[in-house]
């Protein structure tokens, strides 16, 4: 049964006080997604609760499929996108991990689906608080990945993400992430843009796959061989290798389009986020740079002044685009800096912080490498304090000076001493 389209209330440009989750919900409403499929998970749930409310109140026309798992949520999104609808959803943590099978599937199909991710750590042990572990686990599946620092950025990045994802030169899914609770549940002023202006910026979707046009018979995702195949009158058919090469190239090329869309948005709406890939703070005269993402970058902004008061010329690079990794631009940006301190709210277990080792790899082969030191902070929602960040910068500078570089991954803000009386604390003792 086709539901009768309600008259949708047109948003006028207006500043509202919104949580990060509601900023995401408003963006999904204003980009006019046709289909949403989602499953509840903390701290994302208010996004889709709000969407359900919008639909119920006649403020939004989307079909909201209330699925029985996140795996199904993304499967619904994939099918709806392949049928030609604009599609968005939201999730967190284990929800994203349960979607995992469908993530490379979405990218391989080149479907412009947007996921909002309120970041949250991964169990066990059980935790509902933020870190970027969920966000980093999906770095190798072919999605564009953005990290936001405030609620306005969540709203703006969503609108840009749809435009980037649907660009014919891109055709890729994207994830817009923001720290759980720190942004998802914190209220801030957010400028909602006039609906007519959003519509102008983001015209209706013209999709490269559209099953709803039954006159065009398509067999999507049949078995694809390792080799190209000559099918006579139908021509030569690509193998899996060619499809995946095209995916990699689309990601590489998207960096330029991400900047283009960001600049276009900035011109139109008057808000910009660095170059759309990363944001520089007190950068030019700095010889020490902090590299961080999301909530860690926000906290780092606060310590810049304190460090400069101590006579240290410290600046910040807040990474907004995590995938495709803007390696070339970061290399160009950071090649003349003396010291880089990377704060990861994640860890590539068994190695080190992911932002840290990726930056090292991006700067590899320079004649004179900056000294790079990484620290792990704030896993599972542990507060990141100014003191921790200042200690990190100080420790890095000491190691650089003495040449006594710690080969172990260093955590800042650990409270191991306080655990000495905890019974069964064997693995904490071993950890020392």
């Amino acid at each position: 049964m086709t539901l009768i389209n309600n008259v949708v209330e047109e948003t006028k440009k207006e500043s509202r006080i919104l949580t990060g989750n509601y900023a995401a919900a408003h963006a999904l409403r204003q980009v006019k997604v046709g289909v949403v499929a989602a499953y509840p998970i903390t701290p994302q749930s208010p996004v889709v609760e709000k969407i359900a409310e919008f639909i119920n109140d006649g403020k939004m026309n989307a079909r909201f499929v209330k699925v029985e798992s996140e795996h199904s949520a993304l499967a619904v999104c994939v099918a709806a996108s392949a049928t030609g609808s604009r599609v968005g959803t939201a999730t967190s943590s284990h929800g994203l991990e349960l979607m995992y099978e469908m993530l490379p599937w979405t990218a391989g199909n080149r479907l412009p689906i947007i996921i909002n991710l309120a970041t949250r750590s991964l169990g066990a042990p059980w935790s509902v608080w933020t870190d970027h572990s969920d966000f980093i686990t999906i770095r190798d599946v072919g999605w564009i990945q953005f990290m936001c620092e405030d609620n306005q950025e969540i709203y703006d990045t969503n609108i840009q993400a749809f435009k980037i994802a649907e660009d014919r030169r891109v055709n890729l899914p994207a994830i817009v992430a923001y720290d759980g609770y720190i942004l998802s549940h914190t209220m801030m002023p957010v400028m909602l843009e006039d609906q007519k202006e959003v519509d102008k910026f983001l015209p209706p979707l013209k999709h490269h796959i559209n099953l709803s046009d039954v006159s065009q018979v398509k067999g999507i995702d049949p078995v694809t061989t390792p080799h190209i195949r000559d099918r006579g009158s139908e021509g030569i058919v690509p193998g899996y290798f060619e499809y995946r090469y095209a995916l990699q190239k689309a990601l590489e090329n998207s960096i330029e389009i991400i900047q283009e869309v960001h600049d276009d948005f900035a011109n139109k709406f008057g808000r910009s986020y660095g170059n759309g890939l990363f944001k520089k703070v007190e950068f030019d005269d700095a010889d020490i740079i902090i590299l961080a993402m999301g909530s860690v970058a926000s906290q780092s902004r606060v310590v810049l002044k304190k460090l400069r008061e101590k006579g240290l010329k410290v600046g910040l690079v807040s990474l907004k685009l995590f995938r495709p990794y803007p390696a070339k631009l970061l290399r160009e940006l950071l090649k003349d800096k003396k010291t880089i301190v990377v704060f990861d709210r994640d860890i590539g277990y068994g190695y080190e912080g992911v932002l840290c080792y990726e930056l090292k790899s991006a700067l590899y082969g320079l004649k004179e490498n900056p000294f790079i030191k990484g620290f792990i902070v704030g896993l599972g929602g542990r507060d990141i304090t100014n003191e921790q960040l200042i200690e990190g910068v100080t420790r890095a500078l000491d190691q650089e000076k003495t040449g006594e570089i710690s080969q172990t991954t260093e955590f800042l803000g650990l409270k191991l001493k306080e655990l000495s009386d905890y019974d069964e604390a064997t693995f904490f003792k071993e950890a020392k």
């Binding site: 049964m1 086709t2 539901l3 046709g34 289909v35 499929a37 026309n61 989307a62 079909r63 499929v65 209330k66 699925v67 029985e68 798992s69 795996h71 199904s72 949520a73 499967a75 619904v76 999104c77 994939v78 099918a79 709806a80 996108s81 392949a82 049928t83 030609g84 609808s85 099978e101 469908m102 599937w105 099953l211 709803s212 039954v214 065009q216 018979v217 398509k218 067999g219 999507i220 995702d221 049949p222 078995v223 694809t224 061989t225 195949r229 099918r231 139908e234 021509g235 058919v237 690509p238 193998g239």
Partner: protein, 299 residues
């Protein structure tokens, strides 16, 4: 009542698919598509049907097909339906999920259950060849007790999941069983299902020559034995009302039923059945039909 002249000549599957010789699933699919017609979108998980659909670069059918990961068939159909509703096209286009027994009763049961519970307007067709045939005959939740598979070399322990009953328990408008050997019945059931609004479930037994261990030319005969022995009753439940289908009606009379031995002894997968297991099958069939009889009386 449909007769053979009512079935359209138009074929929706191109000749020369990759299905095995004697594959009854191919026959089921062929007849179902004739009933569904050209305004149909199919979604299919990993299964023998994926093999039938062939390789990248060519669509084996005259209707569009969306392949989807194993566990997601019900969700995939939901997504297509939601998008068609978004575009106002849902009245014109049939959305049909076609999955094997493993994709339905095992890994796909959650997304199927969710899709039907939400009242999604689609047809879900399970072709049941009673094991993971595509991956080389491993047991599934739909493999009958005692049957050989590569993961049950001594015969399966456990039961065959009664999926039509599980679907009925969801309170959906239409549930039916069918079998490849009675194509008119398949045609009739798909024709009926496509005109009903809401979730429709059709469970079709699909004899499989390599998996069940018989010669390809005997597929139709083996399927008929499943019906004639009473092992696989053909029926419909429409809006809760149970109707025994034409080809199964006479087997309400137990004396008309062929002995189960004729069915199991025709298939190598049952080679190791003991007399006790055969007696269990007899008891199972007796109970099954007692249930059918009382149900007919109730309705």
């Amino acid at each position: 009542m449909v007769n053979i002249m009512d079935i359209p000549e138009e074929e929706y599957i191109y000749p020369g698919t990759r299905a095995c010789a004697g594959c009854s699933m191919a026959l089921i699919y062929r007849i179902a598509l004739k009933a569904l017609g050209p305004k149909t979108i199919i979604t299919v998980p990993a299964s023998c049907l994926t093999v039938l659909h062939g390789m990248q670069g060519f669509c084996t059918t005259k209707v569009s097909v969306l392949h989807t990961p194993f566990a997601t068939t019900g969700a995939s159909a939901s997504g297509i339906v939601a998008s068609l509703e978004d575009k106002g096209l849902d009245q014109d286009i049939n959305v049909v999920a076609f999955a094997g027994d493993g994709g339905t009763v095992d890994i796909g049961i959650q997304s199927l259950s969710g899709a039907v519970e939400r009242g999604t307007n689609f047809i879900y067709a399970c072709y049941d060849n009673e094991a993971y045939m595509n991956t080389g005959v491993q047991r599934s939740g739909s493999t009958p007790p005692g049957a050989f598979s590569t993961t049950t070399p001594g015969g399966k322990i456990g039961s065959k999941k009664n999926m039509p009953k599980i679907m009925e328990a969801h309170g959906i408008p239409y549930v039916a069983t069918a079998i490849a050997s009675y194509p008119l019945d398949i045609y009739e059931k798909f024709s009926r299902a496509k005109n009903i609004y809401g979730p429709k479930y059709i469970h079709i037994l699909a004899p499989c020559p390599p998996g069940w261990g018989y010669l390809p030319r005997r597929s139709i005969e083996i399927g008929r034995l499943a019906v004639q022995t009473g092992f696989w009753p053909l029926y419909e439940v429409f809006e809760g009302k149970f109707t025994l289908s034409r080809d199964s009606k006479k087997f309400l009379d137990s004396s008309k039923r062929k002995p189960i031995e004729e069915y199991v002894k025709a298939q190598k997968r049952f080679n190791s059945l003991s007399q006790e297991q055969i007696d269990n099958y007899k008891a199972y069939i007796t109970d099954l039909w007692a249930g059918i009889e009382s149900r007919i009386k109730e309705d």
